[in-house]
């Protein structure tokens, strides 16, 4: 099977790219989706506000997902559901496996938009037993919103990111009453109004607290909390492991593609190119984790870069300059490789800090400051630095002149 563009992942980034490529007349566009229905993560988010940026209206997750798929199809893209990409090869060439079996897809160009997942229990190093009833938000929301089943009655929720409050609401909709929310840090990570929810719902929030161990043989019977006042046991029948997102980059890892330890995603250049000639990446695969709207915008941007690539209009990737991060307060910066601007290029550097930091963020080339802005940043917020509109030459250094 052959196509001009193959897009792996029918979430906001992949579907936005598909729709844009259709509008640009980029030829045959095939979207590969491993789930039975397109839409990605928003599909099972029953409640968050989606769609303001994309469709100028507030929508629920599943309606938003359906609208994205509709736009992609209306623009001429084919969406293959229940279809898994199982390997990437030079070419680009993809190995796919669907209900009928395995086959190869030959593409002129591939967009990787496989998104993100929440960290597993072992990645959080939680001790204790391995009973049923321990799950990430993604699984909880699928069980509740897609299956209409209840996995537990009285879980604890680990994390206080935005998604943690989404998990809280999902529990409530399922008729479960969370026993507590647990946060390792000194404050709730999400901003109001989400942060007010626990008080409204009467769910205690334990700060500066870790889950030291999970108990129970077959089903969760409780947890031991490591709190500032010592160890304490809490009865519960489930544990929701929320947030701590990481890139769903298994295909790239298996292919031996370079990845960024800071983002857990692929190393990309200004045009989103990664891995091998003809491969692009966009959306939350690039880094954990931004909103559906931000991923949608990245998908559209990637579509313009892909369209230019198909027309032979992108610069040689070998001419890119790596951004060297020279501050330990910067966790990552995207894109990792910069070129002069062009069609579909990232026009801003996006970064996250590893600790609260205030100061002057600077992108330098030798002694020349290419871009700078004052920041007052926290780890949970994205920082953007507009990139220069002119050509680059020589090594690039990103620093924060600390003023804390």
């Amino acid at each position: 099977m052959q196509t001009d563009v193959a897009i792996i992942g029918a979430g906001p980034a992949g579907l936005a790219a598909a729709a844009e490529l259709g509008r640009l007349g980029a030829g045959r566009v095939v979207v590969i989706e491993r789930d039975a229905v397109p839409g990605g993560i928003p599909r099972h988010c029953g409640h968050s506000p989606f769609g303001m940026r994309e469709f100028r209206r507030i929508m629920g997750g599943s309606a938003y997902a359906a609208r994205l798929a509709h736009e992609a199809r209306a623009a001429g893209a084919e969406i293959l559901c229940s279809m898994s990409a199982t390997a990437l090869f030079d070419g680009p060439l993809l190995e796919l496996s669907g209900p009928e079996g395995r086959f190869m897809l030959d593409a002129r160009c591939v967009l990787l938009a496989t998104g993100t997942r929440e960290s597993s229990r072992i990645q959080r190093m939680i001790g204790g037993t391995k009973p049923g009833g321990v799950m990430p938000t993604g699984a909880l929301q699928g069980i509740v919103h897609l299956n209409h089943q209840i996995p537990f009655r009285r879980p604890v929720i680990l994390g206080t990111e935005l998604v943690s409050f989404s998990a809280l609401l999902t529990c409530r909709q399922a008729g479960a009453r969370p026993a507590a929310m647990i946060e390792a840090g000194p404050a709730i990570l999400a901003r109001a109004p989400a942060a007010l929810l626990p008080r409204v719902m009467g769910v205690p929030v334990h700060l500066d607290t870790r889950i030291a161990a999970i108990h129970g043989r077959d089903r969760v019977a409780g947890v031991t909390l490591d709190t500032p006042r010592g160890m304490t046991d809490l009865d519960c029948d489930g544990v929701v492991l929320t947030g701590a997102f990481r890139s769903e980059a298994a295909l790239l890892a298996a292919a031996g593609a370079p990845r960024d330890a800071g983002t857990s995603g692929p190393v990309i250049d200004s045009f989103g190119r990664c891995f091998a000639p003809g491969y692009f990446a966009a959306g939350n695969l690039l880094r954990p984790v931004e909103t559906a709207g931000a991923c949608w915008a990245e998908g559209k941007r990637a579509a313009r870069a892909i369209h230019a690539f198909l027309g032979g209009a992108l610069p040689d990737p070998a001419s890119a300059h790596p951004v060297q991060i020279a501050s330990d307060a910067i966790r990552y910066a995207l894109p990792q490789l910069l070129l002069a601007p062009g069609p579909g290029s990232h026009d801003q550097l996006q970064l996250r800090v590893s600790r609260p930091v205030r100061g002057m963020l600077q992108l330098r080339q030798g002694e020349t400051i290419l871009a700078s802005r004052h920041i007052n940043a926290r780890p949970e917020r994205r920082v953007m630095l507009p990139l220069p509109a002119h050509a680059l030459n020589g090594p690039l250094i990103l620093t924060i002149e600390d003023s804390t």
Partner: protein, 458 residues
């Protein structure tokens, strides 16, 4: 109310119980296998290092050694007929200190005395040539070519399915609560009703002493559970090791092993920690971190690799080191106790030994189960036509494989049982991508459901 009379009732459906059920069913006995959990392999057999041992380091002249050698030989003879994997990668025993190096000649002599005559001494250069990612701090070692990797769960399931094909019955959620010996048979009380059988085999593993006391009225031995924790590295790490990398064993433990799995991961473990609890094997983050460090000391490149999973198993050790196998045929009782880490290798040999004790000539099987291909060096279901779609994306488990496990001769009764039969949720995402689909596909099919009912969401 009375159940049918069986020739033999086996208490405990772990690897040993399944192998015994297979042997006696093939040999024409009416067999019932009783398991107290929702599904088979739920005790000691649920977590081990998945190695088929040669017995090179087993205590010489023991029944354990005989059972390992016979069990291994039978596995090698039958595995292809049942589509069970064998990765004959061999092992390297590695010395890291002067003392360990000094112990190597005696270990090799013991191996030869145990009939493992193809061991081969290797100096540091030869070790590094054989295993290029090995730390250059290694001093010396030897190769044991016969050590191999297998699938610990598929093997046990295959024995069980073959037993069932020969007429054996499996009853889960059937815990032994009492036993009465009559002139020529037993009346067993279980949580799944009464059973009558001529011969009772105690293969209750971690509960072997309890069952023994029910059957004999005496406390003849003590199970002293020994916990083993493991960490599992993600698939890219598997390329770092060709052999099973063994340390020089101590008096009490084989020590921490680094090896691939037939599923294409790399594991490091086990620890050996005595504990009173025989039901709960808790993971301890500090210990897992130490195992990760141990792995990286042996294979330095492991330091950059991601841990996918961790698990802990319990070995049914007793106050003595050897197997505790004894038979009183006049009372219709055989006890198979204290089968520790070597149970996976020895199970078929133990079963053969029990057959001999009972004076039975082993028969040829009439039926051979065809086990699903789960190991990574064969064509998996997702690579073939009509699999119905991939459900678990990390381990590439298909809808057809899940349905097969739910309708197998001994179907999965719990998510844990489904995991062991198919590998669902065992990958790097630990269920983020597939748990909802599994909850849907298994709705109403498990005796231990994944959910607690229907909600009124949305």
């Amino acid at each position: 109310m009375s159940g049918p009379v069986y020739d033999i009732a086996i208490i405990g459906a772990g690897i040993v119980g399944c192998a015994i059920a297979r042997r006696f069913a093939i040999d024409g006995a009416r067999v019932i296998l009783l398991e107290k959990a929702h599904d088979v392999l739920d005790g000691a057999s649920k977590g081990n290092s998945a190695i088929l041992h040669t017995g090179f380091d087993a205590p010489p002249g023991t029944l354990e050694l005989d059972c390992i050698r016979d069990g291994r030989a039978e596995y090698l003879a039958i595995h292809q007929r049942m589509n069970l994997p064998l990765d004959a990668c061999g092992a390297l025993v590695l010395a890291w200190t002067e003392d360990e190096e000094a112990a190597l000649p005696a270990l090799m002599a013991q191996a030869r005395a145990n009939g493992v005559t193809d061991v081969e001494a290797l100096d540091k250069a030869a070790l590094l040539a054989a295993e290029p990612q090995l730390s250059p701090h290694v001093r010396a070692g030897f190769r044991v070519p016969g050590e191999a990797l297998i699938d610990p769960w598929s093997a046990a399931h295959a024995y069980l399915y073959q037993a069932i094909a020969h007429g054996a019955e499996l009853r889960c959620r059937a815990e032994l609560t009492g036993a009465e010996r009559h002139a020529d048979h037993w009346s067993l009380a279980t949580t799944a009703g009464p059973i009558e059988a001529g011969l009772v085999v105690n293969a209750a593993g971690l509960w072997g002493d309890h069952v023994d006391k029910i059957l004999t009225g005496n406390a003849r031995f003590d199970i002293r559970p020994r916990k083993g924790q493991f960490v599992v590295f993600d698939k890219p790490a598997a390329s770092l090791a060709r052999h099973i990398l063994l340390p020089v064993p101590t008096k009490t433990t084989k020590g921490v092993v680094v090896c691939r799995t037939v599923f294409g991961n790399l594991l490091v473990g086990p620890t050996a920690e005595e504990q009173p609890d025989r039901d709960i094997a808790a993971l301890v983050p500090e210990t897992l971190e130490r195992l990760r460090e141990t792995g990286a000391r042996i294979l330095p490149a492991l330091a950059g690799h991601e841990v996918t999973a961790a698990y802990a198993g319990l070995r049914p050790a007793t106050e003595e080191k050897g197997y505790r196998i004894d038979a009183d045929l006049s009372l219709g009782r055989i006890t198979v106790g204290g089968i520790r880490s070597t149970g996976l290798s020895a199970a078929l040999g133990i079963a053969r030994h029990l057959g001999q004790l009972c004076g039975i000539t082993p028969a040829e099987p009439k039926h051979w189960p065809d086990m699903p291909p789960l190991s990574q060096d064969v064509t998996r279901d997702w690579q073939t036509a009509g699999h119905g779609g991939i459900v678990c994306h990390c381990e590439l488990v298909t809808s057809r494989e899940i349905e097969a496990a739910l309708t197998a001769p001994a179907p999965a009764h719990s998510l844990a049982g489904l995991k062991r039969r198919t590998r669902v949720t065992m990958g790097r995402c630990q269920g983020f991508g597939c748990m909802a689909a599994l909850a849907r596909l298994t709705d109403g099919r498990f005796t231990q459901p994944m959910t607690c009912g229907d909600g009124d969401a949305d």
